[in-house]
């Protein structure tokens, strides 16, 4: 494997690792907190919101936005590290 090829493989592996972590969070806040564990979380109340209901109609959306911006930051750093930035 050439040097260039090795670099590309390492970059891709790290990228896929980031994707797994971020998509795990994506799954937990929406399908987890907003759907599967909604009833359990509803026992907790923050202000007028039952927590599970809040995740389903508000919280998950905020987390989605944050996730994309975290991804943008991580990837910009990774691009720089491997010299793929332009």
């Amino acid at each position: 494997m050439s040097e260039k090829q090795k670099k590309a493989t390492a970059y891709w592996k790290q990228n896929v690792r980031y994707l797994f972590i971020l998509l795990a969070i994506w799954f937990v806040v929406s399908f987890g907190a907003g759907i599967l564990f909604k009833d359990a979380l509803d026992a907790v109340k923050i202000g007028g919101f039952k927590l599970g209901f809040w995740f389903a109609q508000q919280g998950s959306i905020y987390v989605f936005v944050i996730l994309i911006f975290v991804y943008v930051r991580l990837m910009n750093k990774l691009d720089k590290k491997y010299g793929y930035n332009e």
């Binding site: 590309a8 970059y11 891709w12 990228n15 896929v16 994707l19 971020l22 998509l23 994506w26 929406s30 399908f31 907003g34 759907i35 599967l36 909604k38 509803d42 923050i46 202000g47 007028g48 919101f49 039952k50 209901f53 809040w54 389903a56 109609q57 508000q58 998950s60 959306i61 905020y62 989605f64 936005v65 996730l67 994309i68 911006f69 991804y71 943008v72 990837m75 910009n76 691009d79 010299g83 793929y84 930035n85 332009e86």
Partner: protein
């Protein structure tokens, strides 16, 4: 000034603005026409994507649907935003690096096959046409209610406007008008929401107002109050749904994956300069969308509480003016079954006397809350901005599918750039005509077919694109059979349970208890499985295709989008 005068002024001003932008940024080449010359900034693209995505359904219908569905409405909130995470992480950067004009371009090249390209074109056309018909109808509804013109005249006015700037400006004209339309629609959505939030809870931020206590000195939380009112009238508790857990899960997944697979959204990411910009602009798009999507559930709660308080058990003769106005449109009907002159709004179908169309909740909300005339007019302008921006984006996908994917790539590869541009304009014109026809004569199954559009996108494009990027060895046989099985399965299930074909069926016959709306997730999984099984028995893709995949995984050197 009256509501009507205000509406004429605001709608007139916004339309003049859109046309001005279209003339200023008209397209000179196919590249301008398909991908706006490829030089759109991430923020402008984010705003354009947000306007493109938020249709008449998001602006006019969604809050109303949530109002009546309560917790069950969460599927739309999570589904239509969570898809952007998939889009940003799994699709947009790689498709931008690939650097072509359309989604069928990617499918056709990555799977080295004309068949794959044609399957993709057919899917893109079905998805986009069903969508655009709904938008035209939305334009008609707004015109007929707020400008007192006939609904069909409304559709025709909308057609002329869209035709003008989509045909003249192509993607370039559309992008910059969408930027303006985003500003109009978000302002129009937020102003009444903030007014009502202050009125009901004293909190100017609707997202927080929704979880605050009522302003009436009782100290009751708004959501508790609404839960109480709902159960009193025999409905489910607002914060608890009636759909099964499996179905909620399946619908949310299908909407997320469908969102990520919609061609008119994906194609927006071909318009930015670099891979880096594609990622960033996906984030900005979702941020801008989230402003509306986190406000909508608050509007739903305010509107529902207001509505129940205004109508429940009140005398029909005491109803405010807005009630009569909406009765005239037929979107609100009162049938005094027990002839006591009072309005019974209850869950029991035999006793309920009030039927309310979902769409009223946002459009009538400012009137119900007694807001000034200019706010009511603003909502009309916002609804039009939402419908027009989405219609224009869809029309572009349709015209590009015909002129680029069919005429240029399949029938006549030697066509000149100039001739292709004229074919694209011609195709857009024909598409506007067809969309307008469906807007004026809406087939009874529009609503059903819009859900089908998401299911189709989920069952066809998403797996093919994701496998194309993340599974280097995926070959054309696998991808094509996956797409075909996915679409056919989805079409079969939808037509069986929505139109009663193939023996029909009721809720009890649903597979795994999943509704047709949620079945896209099953069809998508079937697509993945079939593709991977077929792959085991068919030859690997050629080396040069595997090199394309290696190449799109590296963000640098994206160059400019090209059709050649």
């Amino acid at each position: 000034m009256s509501v009507q005068t205000w509406t004429y002024i605001l709608v007139g001003l916004t339309f003049a603005l859109y046309i001005g932008i279209a003339i200023y940024s008209r397209a000179g080449s196919t590249k301008d026409f398909y991908v706006a010359g490829g030089g759109v900034s991430p923020l402008a693209n984010g705003m354009a994507t947000a306007a493109d995505w938020m249709s008449a359904a998001s602006f006019i219908s969604m809050a109303g649907i949530i109002s009546f569905a309560g917790y069950d409405g969460s599927v739309y909130l999570m589904g239509w935003t969570g898809g952007y995470v998939l889009l940003a992480l799994l699709l947009a950067p790689y498709l931008r690096k690939f650097g072509k004009f359309t989604v069928p371009d990617f499918i056709g090249d990555r799977y080295y096959s004309k068949t794959a390209r044609i399957v993709a074109v057919i899917c893109a056309l079905i998805v986009s046409f069903t969508y655009v018909a709904g938008q035209m109808r939305g334009v008609g509804v707004v015109f007929s209610r707020f400008l007192q013109v006939d609904i069909n005249t409304g559709v025709i006015i909308g057609m002329v406007i869209v035709l003008f700037y989509a045909v003249l400006g192509g993607m370039k004209g559309i992008t910059y008008t969408q930027v303006a339309q985003y500003c109009v629609l978000i302002f129009a959505f937020m102003v009444p929401a903030i007014f009502i939030s202050i009125q009901m809870t004293g909190n100017p931020i609707p997202q927080l107002g929704m979880g605050s206590t009522l302003n009436d000195g009782s100290g009751t939380f708004l959501l508790d109050k609404l839960d109480g009112l709902s159960t009193e009238l025999g409905f489910n508790e607002y914060t608890n749904g009636s759909k099964s857990l499996t179905d909620i899960f399946a619908i949310t997944l299908a909407l997320m994956v469908g969102t990520a697979g919609l061609p008119h959204v994906i194609v927006r990411f071909f318009t930015v300069k670099k891979v880096k910009d594609a990622r960033k602009s996906a984030g900005l798009a979702l941020l801008l969308i989230a402003i509306l999507y986190t406000t909508a559930p608050a509007v739903a709660v305010f509107a529902k509480t207001n509505l129940i308080n205004t109508v429940s058990n009140e005398n029909y003769s005491n109803m405010p003016v807005w009630f009569k106005n909406w009765e005239e449109t037929g979107l609100l009907t009162f049938d005094d079954k027990n002839a006591d002159g009072k309005i019974q709004y209850v869950a029991d179908k035999d006793k309920n006397e009030l039927t309310i169309d979902n769409d009223i909740m946002v459009l009538a909300n400012p009137e119900i809350a007694d807001l000034p005339a200019w706010v009511i007019a603003l909502v009309a302008a916002g609804g039009l901005a939402a419908a027009l921006s989405t219609a224009a984006g869809l029309l572009l996908v349709i015209s590009a599918s015909v002129s680029h994917d069919l005429v240029k790539k399949v029938f006549n590869p030697n066509i000149s750039d100039k001739a292709e541009l004229w074919v694209a304009r011609g195709a857009a014109t024909v598409a506007v005509g067809i969309a307008g026809y469906f807007g004026i004569n809406p087939p009874g199954f529009v609503a059903a077919v819009v859900a089908l559009a998401f299911g189709l996108a989920a069952a066809s494009f998403f797996p093919a694109i994701v496998l194309g990027i993340f599974y280097k060895k995926m070959n054309k046989e696998g991808a094509i059979s996956g797409m075909v099985v996915g679409i056919i399965l989805m079409l079969f299930y939808m037509t069986k349970f929505k139109f009663g074909w193939f023996g029909g069926g009721t809720e009890a016959d649903w597979w795994f208890g999943i509704s047709p709306e949620g079945f896209g997730s099953i069809a998508m999984i079937a697509n993945f499985i079939v593709a991977i099984i077929v792959l085991q028995f068919t030859p690997e893709p050629p080396v040069d295709v595997q090199e394309i995949v290696e190449n799109i995984r590296i963000p640098s050197g994206a160059g400019e989008a090209t059709g050649h």
